[in-house]
Amino acid sequence: MTSTIIQITVSELCEREELSRSVVVQLVHYDIAQPLAGSSIEDWIFDVTTAHWMQRAIRLQRDLDIDWIAVAMLIDLLQEREQLSEENQRLRQRLGRFLMEDGS
């Protein structure tokens, strides 16, 4: 059985993505990500889902050459879009239970 992990340490994250600690600090500073635990940078631990958004933020900043404030706004909007699309799907499913199929 392979165990699943839902957390990632700051050193693993930096090694994976070839990041410097200062980029991680920027991500936290602009509230794109918040560590789950850890008082100093070296002890920071992130949720894996948060790490996914951090990676997206880093790619966007690098590829589109935009500043961190814009990246933070973009990430907020992308997260909101994901939530809305999931909510939309759930509401459609619920609505479907009350409405009759077409033609019936």
């Binding site: 992990i5 839902i6 889902t49 759930r90 619920r94």
Partner: protein
């Protein structure tokens, strides 16, 4: 291989100045960036656009590319770099993880393609992380669930990409939510040389349930009831994720009314959410003449107009 017309990819003419090329690149990069654009072909388009920019932004690389393009490269259906061709401008910045096309590598050297993202410790290259969607049933979120998982990984052998199938048994921790990601260390693409394998990320997707709907940590179940059950009240059996429970419907209940069953929802950090039973009044498919007659009597006696709100407004 196909000759790539970088000018055409960016939608510009070959005499465009660098600042305008940058403008064209930025516009298309914004449009096709795979972290923003969910379309399936966005990633390929973005790579093409970024590759075009990688070449055209650099004066020396652009000059070399223009030379090849001018001397017939673009007219060849099956492009090959001229014999003895060696780029002087090949090395450059890593812009998007070094995932360049065969065409690019044939002109500017293969060193780009070797530099994949991930730690390179001098002895090899760490394998790529991969992400796959993991469908999870609502029933499986109540306690730790063991699930078989099959997926394909690309491996590189003698310069060729070959997929290998992998199967694993994974533990999905109790209380996972839709959209959550979990990580399996070392189950991604194998590393090259002595370098470690990448990680596998599972993107949790809750499978739509035939009976239950999800709202946060609460569940909803639609309970069909007969009109007389709504009028007189009833006891009905309602499914939950684990078992069935008995629910009392009060007299004079309405369609759409919600009844809360505590602690029968999904797992949350603070315990269990609730289950809401939503009443739905349903008419029988067909009724006999005798029943029709009873409805008529009821209509006379009840003297009920459900549309008084509309009439007041007129």
């Amino acid at each position: 291989m196909e000759f790539k017309d970088y000018y055409q990819i960016l939608g510009i003419s070959p005499d465009t100045e660098t600042p305008d090329i940058k403008k064209a690149y930025r516009k298309l990069a914004r449009k096709y960036h795979p972290d923003v654009n969910p379309e399936a072909d966005a990633e390929d388009k973005f790579k093409e656009v970024a590759e075009a920019w990688e070449v055209l932004k650099d004066k020396d690389r652009r000059a070399e590319y223009d030379e090849l393009r001018r001397y017939g490269g673009q007219r060849q259906a099956d492009f090959e770099a001229p014999p003895g061709w060696q780029s002087a401008a090949g090395n450059g910045s890593q812009h998007f993880g070094g995932d360049f096309s065969e065409f690019f590598n044939s002109i500017f050297g293969g060193q780009f393609n070797q530099e994949r993202p991930g730690a390179s410790d001098g002895f090899g290259i760490r394998g790529q992380d991969i992400e796959i969607e993991m469908p999870v049933f609502l029933e499986e979120t109540i306690s730790d669930a063991s699930k078989p998982l099959e997926y394909e990984l690309p491996t590189f052998e003698q310069g060729q990409t070959r997929p290998i199938r992998k199967s694993l048994k994974v533990t999905i921790p109790a209380g996972v939510v839709d959209g959550q990601r979990i990580r399996l260390r070392g189950q991604g693409v194998p590393g090259q040389g002595d370098a470690p394998a990448g990680d596998l990320y599972l993107h949790i997707r809750l499978v739509p349930h035939p009976v239950f709907d999800v709202e946060g940590h609460n569940l909803m179940v639609t309970v069909p009831i007969a009109p007389w059950e709504a009028a007189l009240g009833a006891k009905v059996t309602v499914p939950t994720l684990e078992s069935k429970i008995n629910l009392t419907i009060a007299p004079e209940s309405q369609s759409g009314q919600k009844l809360r069953v505590r602690g029968k929802g999904l797992l949350s950090k603070t315990g269990r959410g609730d289950l809401y039973a939503v009443l739905k009044v349903v008419m029988p498919d067909s009724t006999s003449a005798e029943v029709q007659e009873l409805w008529r009597t009821l209509a006379d006696k009840a003297a009920f107009n459900p549309r008084t709100q509309w009439e007041e407004k007129q």
